[in-house]
C-alpha cells in the first residue's frame, strides 16, 4: 500500500469499467476518501493558522506601506527588502532582549534540569515515603496557568503584601526581589516553580522504563545508590535529558507572560525586555507592522534553528556509539 493511485486511475480509466474485474479497487478508493475526510479539518487549520500567517509575516517584513506626499491618499506598497530586518537587528533593545533570554537560560535550564532530575532520582531510589502523593504535590503547579503563577509570585515579591519579605524583615534582612540584579532570578523562579514537577514526571517515567537487570547488576557490582543513580541511570536516560533541555530552551525564547506582568510592577523590566515583548511593543505601541513582522520571523528562525540543531546533534551522538 505504498502508492495509492494505480496506473489505471492515473490515466483516467473510469473506475466502473474495472470494478467487476477488481472488486478491491472500490475499497481502496473508499479508503482514500475516508483518509482525506479525516485529514481535511486538520490540514485546513495547518494552512489557515500556521502556513498562511507565517507566509504573510514574511511578506510584510519584506514590504512596507510607503506614504508619499505627507501621508495623504492611499499609500503604495513598496518592496523594502531586508530593511526591516536590518532595523530590528540594529536595534539595541531587540538585541538586549536576546541577552536577557541567554542569561535566563543560563540560570533556568541547569536549575530545572538538575532539580527535576534529582527529584526523579530520589523518587526512583525507593527511599521516599508517600511516593505518589509527593509526585502529585510536585506536579500541581503545572496545573496553575502561567499568568496566575506570575500573579501569585509577584505578590510574594511585593513589599507590604508578601509574608516572605515580612518574615525576612523580622530577622532584619531586607530583600528587594524586584531590584536590578534580583528581577531576572525572580522571573526564573516563577518558571522553575511551574516546570519543576512537570519535568520531574518526564524523568521519572523514563527512569521507571529502565531495565531492572541493569540496576540490579550495578548493585551486585557494589555500586551504592548515589553511584548507581549518577553513573548508571543518568547516562541511560540522556536522550530524555536532552529533550527536556531543548524544550526548556524553546520555552525560554517565548518568555512573555511573567515579564509582562513584572513590567507593571517594577521599572527594572521595561516594555521591550524580552523578544516577544519587543514584538508586542513594535506592533501595538509603535504600530510598525513591518518591524514587528521582521522580529517575529527572526524569532521563528532562531527557534527552528535551535531545535533543529540540537535534535540533529543529539541524533548523531546517539547513533555513533552503536
Amino acid at each position: 500500500m505504498s502508492t495509492v493511485l494505480s496506473p489505471e486511475e492515473r490515466t483516467g480509466t473510469p473506475p466502473s469499467a474495472v470494478r467487476e474485474a477488481r472488486p478491491r479497487r472500490a475499497g481502496r478508493r473508499g479508503q482514500l476518501v475516508a483518509c482525506a475526510t479525516l485529514l481535511a479539518p486538520f490540514t485546513a487549520l495547518l494552512v489557515a493558522v500556521f502556513l498562511v500567517p507565517v507566509g504573510y509575516a514574511v511578506y510584510l517584513s519584506l514590504f512596507s506601506e510607503d506614504h508619499t506626499g505627507l501621508g495623504f491618499g492611499g499609500g503604495t506598497t513598496v518592496f523594502t527588502g531586508l530593511r526591516s530586518y536590518l532595523a530590528v537587528l540594529g536595534d539595541p533593545s531587540f538585541r538586549s532582549g536576546f541577552g536577557v533570554i541567554a542569561l535566563y537560560c543560563l540560570i533556568f535550564v541547569p536549575a530545572v534540569v538538575v532539580g527535576a532530575l534529582a527529584l526523579a532520582l530520589l523518587l526512583d531510589s525507593g527511599l521516599v515515603r508517600l511516593r505518589r502523593t509527593a509526585q502529585m504535590m510536585l506536579y500541581l503547579p503545572h496545573a496553575v496557568p502561567g499568568i496566575i503563577a506570575a500573579v501569585i509570585w509577584l505578590y510574594l515579591y511585593t513589599p507590604g503584601l508578601s509574608p516572605v519579605i515580612r518574615l525576612f524583615a523580622a530577622a532584619d534582612v531586607h530583600i528587594d526581589f524586584l531590584g536590578l540584579h534580583t528581577v531576572l532570578p525572580a522571573i526564573v523562579n516563577i518558571a522553575l516553580w511551574s516546570g519543576l514537577g512537570y519535568n520531574m514526571v518526564i524523568f521519572y517515567a523514563a527512569l521507571q522504563a529502565l531495565p531492572r537487570e541493569v540496576i540490579e547488576a550495578a548493585r551486585i557490582d557494589g555500586a551504592g545508590g548515589l553511584r548507581t543513580a549518577l553513573l548508571v541511570k543518568v547516562p541511560i536516560i540522556r536522550g530524555t535529558v536532552v529533550m527536556v533541555c531543548v524544550f526548556a530552551l524553546i520555552g525560554a525564547l517565548q518568555l512573555f507572560t511573567e515579564p509582562t506582568l513584572m513590567n507593571q510592577a517594577t521599572p527594572m523590566v521595561n516594555s521591550r525586555y524580552a523578544p516577544n515583548m519587543y514584538i508586542y511593543d513594535a506592533a501595538f505601541r509603535r504600530n510598525n507592522y513591518g518591524l514587528a513582522s521582521a522580529a517575529s520571523v527572526i524569532l521563528l528562525i532562531v527557534t527552528c534553528a535551535l531545535s533543529y540543531a540540537v535534535t540533529r546533534w543529539t541524533g548523531r551522538k546517539e547513533r555513533s556509539p552503536r
Binding site: 473508499g30 483518509c35 485529514l39 505578590y155
Partner: protein, 280 residues
C-alpha cells in the same frame, strides 16, 4: 550499615519534603490571602483570621464592573472546553489517518506537523493577528477560538496512540464485514482510542486555559476576554487602586480550580500522555 541507610532515608525524604513545600506554599498563601480584605492583605499576619472576609470578597468579585468576572469565566470555559473538544476531535482524526492510511506525500505532511510542534504558539500570535486584521476577524470570538484548535502535538500523540491502541486486524475485520471506512472510524476505532482522546483533550484544555499572548494580541473588547487576560487587566488596575488586589487574589484562586480538579481526577491520562510523548 543500617544507620547509614537510615540517614540517607531521612536525607532523601527531607529534600523531597522541602521541594513539596516549595511547590505547595505559594498555593496555600493564595488560599489564605483570599480570605482577607484589602486592609488585612497589606496589614496583618497572613495566618490571623481576625476579619474573615471570604464571602465579601466573593460578592465583590462577581459584582465588580457589572459582574464581568463571571463573563470571563464563561468565556474561558467556552474557549477551553469547547475548543479542546473540537480541537482534539480534529487532531485525533488526523493522527489516526496518518497511522492507518497510506497516501502521497504522507511523511512530508507529517514533517509539517512536527514543525508545528516545534514552533511555539507565541511566535505565531503576531502573524495570526496580521491575517485576522486583514480579514476583519480581530476582536471577535473566532480570532481566539480558531487558532487554539490547531494542535500538532495532539496529532503526533494520536498517531502514536492509534498505532498502540487500534490493531490493524480490527480494521481488516470491519472491512470484511462491509462497513465503510468512516463508519469503522466512528463506531470502532474512536472508541478504542478513547483514553488517548482524553489525554489529547486534557493537554489542549490546559494549553487553552493558560493562553495569554494570543487573546492579548487579538482582543480589545473586555467582554470577550478569557480569565487570564481579565485578571491581568485587574492587576494593572490594582497598581492604582488597591481595592482590586483582593479581587485578583480570589479571582486567581477560582480560575485555578477547574484545572486542579481535572488534573486530580484524571491523573492517569496526564501521565500516559507525558510518557508517550517523551520517553521515546
Amino acid at each position: 550499615m543500617t544507620t547509614s541507610r537510615l540517614t540517607s532515608r531521612t536525607a532523601v525524604n527531607t529534600v523531597v519534603l522541602i521541594a513539596a513545600l516549595y511547590t505547595l506554599l505559594p498555593g496555600l498563601w493564595l488560599l489564605l490571602a483570599s480570605t482577607k480584605n484589602s486592609d488585612a492583605l497589606f496589614g496583618s499576619d497572613i495566618l490571623s483570621f481576625g476579619d474573615f472576609s471570604l464571602g465579601q470578597n466573593l460578592r465583590d468579585l462577581f459584582s465588580m464592573e457589572d459582574g464581568v468576572y463571571g463573563r470571563w469565566y464563561l468565556n474561558s470555559l467556552l474557549y477551553a472546553v469547547v475548543g479542546a473538544l473540537v480541537g482534539s476531535l480534529i487532531s485525533v482524526a488526523a493522527g489516526y489517518a496518518f497511522d492507518k492510511y497510506a497516501f502521497p506525500h504522507k511523511e512530508k505532511l507529517f514533517g509539517l506537523v512536527l514543525a508545528g510542534v516545534m514552533v511555539p504558539p507565541t511566535v505565531l500570535a503576531l502573524p495570526l493577528y496580521l491575517v485576522a486584521s486583514g480579514i476583519g476577524l480581530v476582536n471577535t470570538f473566532w480570532a481566539v477560538f480558531i487558532p487554539v484548535l490547531f494542535n500538532p502535538f495532539g496529532v503526533y500523540l494520536a498517531r502514536l496512540l492509534s498505532n498502540g491502541y487500534v490493531p490493524n486486524e480490527v480494521l481488516e475485520a470491519s472491512r470484511v464485514d462491509g462497513a465503510g471506512e468512516l463508519q469503522t472510524y466512528f463506531r470502532v476505532s474512536l472508541r478504542m482510542l478513547g483514553p488517548g482522546f482524553v489525554t489529547v483533550f486534557l493537554f489542549q484544555l490546559t494549553a487553552i486555559w493558560n493562553n495569554f499572548f494570543l487573546p492579548m494580541v487579538m482582543l480589545s473588547d473586555e467582554h470577550l476576554y478569557p480569565l487570564s487576560l481579565g485578571l491581568y487587566t485587574w492587576n494593572s488596575s490594582a497598581t492604582v487602586s488597591p481595592e482590586y488586589y483582593p479581587l485578583v487574589v480570589i479571582g486567581s484562586l477560582l480560575a485555578v480550580v477547574p484545572l486542579i480538579v481535572a488534573f486530580v481526577t484524571l491523573q492517569r491520562y496526564w501521565k500516559s500522555g507525558l510518557t508517550a510523548g517523551s520517553v521515546k
